[in-house]
């Protein structure tokens, strides 16, 4: 969501975010509950690949997204290989990979703004219970925006420690990170106020 969106004009790009999210949720549920049958799971994997092609993302993008999951796959294989039959283990891995690739497909073809708007609309009925959908949507957007900022702080701290020859210590990393994050939240609050959000 942070940097995945690829502008395009495919059918999947034009599909409204709400229905797209619902379809992905339904498909994810279907894949999770599907029997551990090689043909069914191969079919699911091929269907996801077809969706990527339909979105004009190409085989390279499928490979790139799948490659990002290598460590997750490794952890899943290692944790299951001695306890489950090979077919069940493979089915579990394929299910998780397919669901993540589907979720990534949504982020690749949907602007954050559209996802946030869809969530805001979905939360509208909760207004009666005192929930403010606009606030929730804003909070979600800001969380997405803040992730790379916090990652940047973490890099700065690591580099500063390395530059001063400080050995890696969790406390010496977490404390400055927390302070920087709190300072950032103060500054962000000012920025929000300056732009008319109290």
């Amino acid at each position: 969501m942070i940097s995945l969106y690829r502008p395009g004009d495919s059918l999947l790009h034009r599909l409204p975010a709400g229905p797209k999210l619902l379809v992905v949720m339904a498909l994810a549920l279907g894949v999770s509950l599907a029997p551990a049958d090689p043909w069914t799971l191969t079919g699911a994997a091929l269907a996801v690949a077809a969706c990527y092609l339909l979105a004009g993302l190409g085989a390279v993008e499928i490979a790139r997204q799948a490659y990002k999951l290598r460590w997750l796959v490794l952890v899943m294989v290692v944790s299951q290989v001695f306890f489950l039959p090979a077919l069940t283990m493979a089915a579990n891995v394929v299910r998780v990979v397919v669901v993540i690739l589907l979720a990534n497909l949504v982020t690749l073809t949907t602007r954050t703004e559209q996802v946030v708007d869809a969530i805001e609309r979905a939360l509208t009925p909760l207004r009666r219970l005192g929930v403010n959908p606009s606030r929730v949507a804003l909070m979600l957007s800001m969380t997405i925006t803040t992730i790379p900022v916090i990652a940047g702080f973490a890099t700065q701290i690591r580099e500063a420690q390395r530059a001063r020859g400080v050995p890696a210590a969790p406390l010496a990393f977490v404390v400055p990170l927390l302070i920087m994050a709190l300072k950032h939240s103060d500054d962000l609050a000012d920025a929000l106020t300056a732009r008319g959000i109290d």
Binding site: M1, I2, S3, Y5, P7, R111, T112, E113, S141, M142, I144, T145, P148, V149, G152, H184, D187, L188, D190, A191, L192, T193, A194, R195, G196, I197, D198
Partner: protein
């Protein structure tokens, strides 16, 4: 130009007084605010946008009270912070620019149109769908300016807008603020070359206005005092 008025404004923070009994009346288009670190420049700038509430005294910005009429004020006064990273609120460039138009009753098409025009104005059209945090420092500051100008304010307050930028980006931002932007500008800055290009310079020291007038002599006296100390 309409006026910025401060009448006997004092701002106190725990343990220090940031502004002391400041009375000012300014109507020039480009107003430079200079002074040493901790002199009260930023507090003065923040007071104009209601980010800081005076402990005593009254502020009027184009006839609006920043504290009591904060909603009305924020549509008229845009604020540019020194650190471009802390003013990005939404994930992508276009979304961040569009955020300033929330609650204005504009249709999606109108928002899109105004965002496209505003990004074009600051030269960021090609980055519309890029993650805002992937921009360079100068581009982020241009985005911050774009997010301010899209709301069509009548006054732009910029607190050290070039502090985090290299020479080329500083010149770009300065050119935009001082030459291209038609709005009234309050520019709090340490960069005396920028201050020299304004219509008036106001010098703060220790929370008080100690000098004001034509930028060249005000800056000369400031530099002289700095050399002496």
């Amino acid at each position: 130009m309409t006026e910025l008025e401060l009448s006997a404004v004092t701002v106190e923070f725990p343990g220090r007084t940031a502004l002391r009994d400041v009375t000012l009346r300014l109507h020039q288009r480009r107003i430079a605010v200079i002074g040493s670190n901790g002199s009260g420049k930023s507090t003065f700038a923040r007071t104009l946008n209601g980010l800081v509430t005076p402990t005593t005294g009254e502020v009027r910005v184009h006839g609006i009270d920043p504290v009591r009429q904060s909603g009305q004020l924020r549509r008229r006064v845009g604020f540019v912070f020194s650190n471009p990273d802390t003013q990005i609120i939404m994930p992508t460039v276009a979304e961040d620019a569009a955020f300033s138009l929330r609650g204005r009753g504009l249709s999606r098409a109108e928002v899109r149109e105004r965002v496209a025009a505003a990004l074009h104005r600051v030269g960021l059209s090609e980055y519309a769908d890029s993650p805002a945090h992937s921009l360079s420092g100068g581009q982020k500051q241009l985005l911050a300016l774009c997010a301010v100008l899209i709301g069509e304010p009548s006054l732009v307050v910029a607190d050290e807008p070039t502090a985090y930028l290299d020479a080329a980006n500083s010149r770009r931002i300065a050119r935009f603020l001082l030459d291209e932007m038609p709005q009234q500008l309050v520019l709090a800055t340490h960069d005396l070359r920028l201050a020299a290009r304004c219509d008036i310079a106001v010098r703060f020291e220790d929370g008080q206005v100690v000098d004001q007038g034509d930028p060249a002599p005000v800056i000369a006296r400031y530099e002289h005092d700095q050399d002496e100390s």
